[in-house]
C-alpha cells in the first residue's frame, strides 16, 4: 500500500474516531435519569419565565413547536443528548461529528484557523467550531450559532453564545467524556458547565439514516391531536 501521506510529526493524538452513543447509567431505562443529573443552568429571569410559559402552554395542549411536523433541522447540541449514535471521523486537520438525527454534520477545524470576524461569520445550526489538542484533550471552541434552542440543564443558545467543549477518552478508550461550558452574557448569569459521557459502539456498527418526511400525514400526527385550543 502506498503511503503518500507521510508522517509530518511524531506527535500522537488520541484516536477518538468511531461511533459513540449515550446510555442511561442512572435512570430507570429512559434518558431522564442521566439528564436530571446535569446541573441547572443559571439563566436570566426572562428566560426562566419564557420556559415557564412554554411549559404551561404545552400542559394546556397547545402546540409550542411545529419543528417535528415540518422536519426542521435539529440544532446543536440536540444530537449530543439524543439516544442515536453519532460518528467521529478524524483527520489531522479536521474532525467531523456525523449524527444520525435530522441535522448537518458538525465540522471542527484543527488546522489553526481562527473564527471569522463578525462581518464574515456565517451563522449555522452547528456554529463555527475550531479545535486544538491540549495533551490528550481535544478543546473545541464554537461561536456563530443560528438557532435559539436549548441545552441540557435548561440553558439556551443565542446568537452571542460561546461554547467550549473538552473531549477526552476515559476508561481505556471505551468511554468519551465531553465537558461543555456555555456562556452568553445575554442569557447566563454564570457559565453553564456539565459533563456527558458516551460509550463506544461495537466494531462493525454502521449508521442509519433517520428519515423525517414532512409530507407524511402521520409525521404531523404526533403534534396535531388533541384538538388545538
Amino acid at each position: 500500500m502506498a503511503l503518500s501521506q507521510t508522517a509530518t510529526s511524531s506527535t500522537k493524538v488520541p484516536d477518538i474516531s468511531g461511533f459513540w452513543e449515550r446510555k442511561d447509567e442512572f435512570g430507570g431505562g429512559s434518558f431522564g435519569g442521566t439528564l436530571e443529573r446535569i446541573p441547572k443552568a443559571s439563566i436570566k429571569p426572562e428566560y426562566i419565565e419564557a420556559a415557564k410559559r412554554a411549559a404551561a402552554a404545552a400542559a394546556r395542549g397547545e402546540v409550542v413547536s411545529f419543528g417535528s411536523k415540518w422536519c426542521l433541522t435539529n440544532s446543536y447540541p440536540f444530537f449530543m443528548q439524543h439516544s442515536a449514535a453519532w460518528d467521529i471521523a478524524q483527520s489531522q486537520d479536521e474532525i467531523i461529528q456525523a449524527p444520525e438525527v435530522h441535522t448537518f454534520a458538525r465540522h471542527i477545524y484543527l488546522d489553526g484557523r481562527k473564527h471569522p470576524d463578525a462581518e464574515h461569520l456565517q451563522r449555522s445550526v452547528n456554529g463555527h467550531a475550531i479545535g486544538h489538542w491540549e495533551g490528550d484533550t481535544l478543546v473545541v471552541d464554537t461561536i456563530g450559532f443560528s438557532n435559539t434552542g436549548g441545552t441540557p440543564g435548561g440553558g439556551r443558545v443565542g446568537p452571542g453564545t460561546h461554547l467550549v467543549e473538552r473531549f477526552k477518552l476515559v476508561d481505556g478508550g471505551k468511554t468519551l467524556s465531553v465537558t461543555s461550558t456555555w456562556d452568553d452574557p445575554a442569557i447566563y448569569l454564570k457559565p453553564h458547565t456539565y459533563e456527558m459521557t458516551y460509550h463506544k459502539s461495537e466494531p462493525g456498527t454502521y449508521a442509519f439514516e433517520e428519515y423525517c418526511h414532512a409530507d407524511d400525514e402521520a409525521q404531523g400526527g404526533s403534534v396535531v391531536p388533541p384538538p388545538q385550543k
Binding site: M1, A2, L3, S4, Q5, T6, A7, T8, S9, T11, K12, V13, P14, D15, S17, G18, F66, W70, C71, L72, T73, D87, A89, Q90, S91, Q92, D93, E94, I95, I96, A98, E100, H102, T103, F104, A105, H107, Y109, D111, R113, Q122, S124, V125, N126, H128, L169, G172, G173, P203, G204, Y206, A207, F208, E209, E210, Y211, H213, A214, D215, E217
Partner: protein
C-alpha cells in the same frame, strides 16, 4: 497505516538488531499503548482529506445506455419524483450529493472509515474501510446513500455501494435512476499532483441500464481555509414550495 503493517515494521526493526523475541514483546506492547493514539500525518492510502470543488469542466458524463423500459419512460416521471423530494426536503442521497460542491472528505487516520459530507442537509456518507463486508440485506434497511464499503487498490480508493432506497433525488447523471437494485462502484484517485480528485462512478442495474454506466467527476482541491456551509431546507416555507411546484396544495398540507 494498518495495525498489521505497524506490527510488521516493528518486527523488522527488531530483527535487524537480532533480538526477535524481544521484538515481538515490544511490538505487542507498542500496539497496546498506541491502540487509542494516532500519529499525526499518518493514514491509510493517499490522503484524500479536504474540501473538493466542482467547476465548469469537472464533469465528464456520457449518455447512459438505458434499458428499453427506462428509455421510453416519460421524462416528467423522473422530474416530478425528484422535485417532490426537493420540495419536501427529503434526503437527496447518492449520487445527487456528490454533485453538490464542495464535498468534504475526512479520511480517518486509523484507516477504518472515510466520511464524506456535503453542504445540503443530508446524512453523511460513511465509507467503511475496516475490512467489513456489506451489511446483511436481511436486516439492513435500504437508505438513500446505500451501504458503502471501501478498500485500497494501490493509490485508488474503491468504494462499493448497495442497499439503496428509492428515496430522494434518484436521477443519475447521464440518464437512468438509482433503485433498490442498483450497484455503484466508485474509484477515488488523486491526480494532478494531488490538486485534483478523480472519482469515476459506475452504475449497474439491469432494469435501468443496458450496460454499466460510467462517468467521471474531477474535483478541484478547494483553497486553504474553505469551509462547508449549511444549506438548510424548510418544508414549511410556502414561497419556496410555490417556486418549486406551483404549490399544488403542498405547502399548506
Amino acid at each position: 497505516m494498518s495495525i498489521l503493517k505497524k506490527e510488521e515494521i516493528v518486527k523488522r526493526t527488531f530483527r535487524a538488531f537480532g533480538i526477535r523475541v524481544l521484538g515481538i514483546v515490544a511490538a505487542v506492547a507498542s500496539l497496546m499503548t498506541t491502540q487509542n493514539a494516532l500519529a499525526l500525518g499518518a493514514a491509510a492510502g493517499p490522503n484524500l482529506s479536504g474540501l473538493w470543488e466542482l467547476r465548469f469542466d469537472s464533469a465528464n458524463v456520457p449518455p447512459a445506455s438505458l434499458a428499453s423500459a427506462m428509455a421510453t419512460e416519460d421524462p416528467s416521471v423522473q422530474y416530478q419524483h425528484d422535485m417532490n423530494a426537493i420540495r419536501w426536503c427529503h434526503f437527496m442521497g447518492v449520487p445527487y450529493v456528490m454533485g453538490v460542491s464542495p464535498i468534504d472528505i475526512v479520511q480517518n487516520l486509523n484507516g477504518k472509515e472515510v466520511l464524506i459530507t456535503t453542504p445540503v442537509r443530508n446524512p453523511s456518507r460513511h465509507i467503511y474501510t475496516d475490512g467489513r463486508q456489506h451489511a446483511n440485506p436481511e436486516t439492513f434497511d435500504p437508505v438513500s446513500g446505500g451501504n458503502s464499503i471501501g478498500h485500497w487498490e494501490g493509490e485508488t480508493l474503491v468504494v462499493d455501494t448497495v442497499g439503496f432506497s428509492g428515496e430522494g433525488v434518484t436521477r443519475i447523471p447521464g440518464g437512468g435512476r438509482r433503485t433498490p437494485d442498483s450497484h455503484l462502484v466508485e474509484r477515488f484517485r488523486l491526480v494532478d499532483g494531488g490538486n485534483r480528485l478523480s472519482v469515476t462512478f459506475t452504475w449497474e442495474d439491469a432494469k435501468v441500464f443496458q450496460k454499466p454506466h460510467t462517468y467521471e467527476f474531477r474535483y478541484y482541491r478547494a483553497p486553504k481555509g474553505t469551509e462547508q456551509r449549511e444549506y438548510d431546507c424548510n418544508a414549511s416555507d410556502e414561497a419556496r414550495a410555490k417556486y418549486l411546484l406551483g404549490a399544488p396544495g403542498g405547502a399548506s398540507k
